[in-house]
């Protein structure tokens, strides 16, 4: 209203209205302040949905590369040359099989008879063989 003639009534009315604005209570001021915060947060640019879609191929390629690297590392020479706990466990199982195998025990017992048999052979047989 600048530059216009203002009557005393309008001037007084303005004074009264401005005073009533100044007397707005703290609770209302606080809520208006929070409303302003929310409005300003709405200013922050939202990332467009198409931009997230453009990242999909790159993410897929990265995931595939990680998978291939994992598989190759597991099958490589570094993995094969290193005795693992699984290999050691497997060897122990084979030893236990040998010890508990019935045929093997019979064979071991047969070795004692061999020496008795060899001692009972005549000398000639020994010489002729040599």
């Amino acid at each position: 209203m600048s530059g216009e003639t203002v009557s005393p009534f309008e001037r007084n009315a303005r004074t009264v209205l401005e005073e009533s604005v100044q007397r707005v209570d703290a609770r209302t001021r606080s809520r208006l302040n929070q409303a302003r915060h929310k409005a300003l947060e709405a200013l922050s640019p939202q990332r467009p949905r198409w931009r997230s879609l453009t990242l999909m191929p790159a993410a897929g390629a990265l995931a595939a590369a990680v998978l291939v690297a994992f598989v190759l590392w597991g099958r490589g020479p570094h993995g094969a040359s290193t005795p693992t706990a699984l290999d050691a466990q497997h060897a122990e199982v084979e030893d236990m099989d040998l010890l508990t195998d019935k045929d093997s025990i019979d064979l071991m017992e047969g070795w004692d008879g061999f020496y008795e048999w060899a001692a009972s052979q005549p000398e000639s047989n020994v010489e002729s063989n040599t």
Binding site: F9, N12, A13, R23, L40, A42, L43, S44
Partner: protein
């Protein structure tokens, strides 16, 4: 760190201005500062205008908040000189929507028997008792009387006259800006304003303060 330390003070600087949100562009930060300054300057007057129209504090706060959000979302890129009439135009639309909704709700509720009042449900809020800047007691009494009389007289004005009077007198918009805010011609603004002043003067005299 205690949990309460992370709570934002209602009077702290908005997130958009201190880097919590993604306003990396300096131009956007400048725009956010300008909008914050604008909204801080109009929020109290806008609240009083909405309160005069809606006669309900919470509805007035909702209307102002919606207008702020709408301005930030849709018109923040416009020149700052256009913000004020645009903001009051949005606020006026919100006020009108609320008044229509209230009318419909009132018609529906009139058919329902034994509806409970909701005035006593509000919880006690100590902030409501906080003291505001206080002038001298006698001056305060005079202002209280004048304020009460003016607010009552404003309530009796037709909506368009009330709007024209408040936008011109309280917010200080010129005729062109008021016309934009009200969505009418400058001639209509002058007519509404003139009739408002005449009606108020008839009721209040010269309104001594």
């Amino acid at each position: 760190m205690p949990e309460f330390a992370t709570l934002a003070s209602p009077y702290s600087m908005p997130a958009a201005l201190h880097g919590d949100t993604d306003l990396t562009d300096p131009q956007e930060q400048t725009q956010a500062r300008a909008l914050n300054q604008f909204l801080a300057g109009v929020e109290l007057k806008a609240f009083k205008i909405a309160q005069a129209a809606l006669r309900h504090e919470d509805d007035a706060l909702d209307a102002v908040q919606d207008a702020m959000l709408q301005l930030a979302r849709a018109y923040a890129a416009r020149p700052a000189e256009e913000w004020k009439p645009l903001f009051y135009r949005i606020l006026e639309n919100r006020i009108r929507d609320m008044q229509r909704r209230r009318t419909v709700r009132g018609r529906i509720m009139a058919w329902l028997p034994l509806r409970g009042g909701d005035d006593g449900d509000e919880e006690f809020d100590p902030l409501a008792l906080a003291a505001s800047p206080d002038p001298q007691p006698v001056r305060r009494l005079e202002l209280d009387e004048a304020m009460g009389a003016l607010e009552q007289a404003l309530q009796r004005l037709p909506r368009r006259q009330q709007q024209a009077f408040l936008l011109r007198t309280l917010e200080g918009l010129d005729v062109a800006q008021t016309a934009t805010a009200m969505g009418c011609s400058e001639g209509s603004v002058k007519t509404h304003y003139f009739r408002a002043v005449q009606a108020l003067r008839a009721q209040l005299g010269e309104l001594h303060t």
